[in-house]
Symmetry: C2
Subunit: 98 residues, 2 copies
């Protein structure tokens, strides 16, 4: 199972995916936001999983983004923390979720 | 030179010290703030220096805080990012700097 297809399986089978690092406050803010909105999500803690840095490189190849948090909704790349909060302010976040 | 005294030398000889990690956006926000305020600072990038994790433990012993950013002004412990921004909103940050 290559890290790329592992990434693909995650990204298409779970509605909201947050690629994250467990110690990162920016990732924490994004998780808080989805919790406040009562939107369930899957968080992949790249610092805690065995192939974390491979997965981070696979995500770079897929989305052009190497940083965390890296948010996908229904397979669509939303972006980082600022992108996610901007999408929420525009009302787009809940649209993507629903 | 123990990491504790290295920390002490830094903390007392430079006016604003930010114990930081180079990849961390919360640390970045605090540096941006001091830049906007035109306040010079020293940033210790704990992930980039040789005894970084020793220094992080020494800071925990000294300030009770293990997270980054960890801000000291004139030897006084201000705290993390939220503490620093709150101090700024109260007008206390510039008082400490001056
Ligand atoms: N503006 C971006 C900042 C993203 C960012 O710089 N993330 C940092 C952690 S806070 C990062 O991924 N650094 C590189 C790394 O940890 O591999 C956002 O809003 O998400
Ligand atoms: N509320 C704190 C959050 C501090 C925090 O959780 N920092 C994270 C990085 S964003 C941390 O230091 N994690 C443990 C580590 O990196 O050693 C603040 O405002 O500074
Ligand atoms: S590691 Fe500090 S905000 Fe991401």
């Amino acid at each position: 199972l290559s890290s790329c297809s592992a990434g693909d399986n995650y990204i298409t089978s779970n509605k909201v995916i947050i690629c994250s690092k467990s110690f990162c406050s920016f990732c924490h803010k994004v998780k808080d936001l989805f919790n406040e909105l009562n939107v369930p999500f899957e968080a992949l803690e790249l610092d805690l999983i065995d192939n974390g840095s491979e997965l981070q490189s696979a995500l770079l190849a897929k989305s052009g983004q190497r940083t965390v948090p890296n948010v996908y909704i229904s397979g669509e790349h939303v972006g980082g923390a600022s992108d996610t909060f901007s999408a929420h302010e525009r009302g787009d976040l809940m649209k993507l979720v629903n």
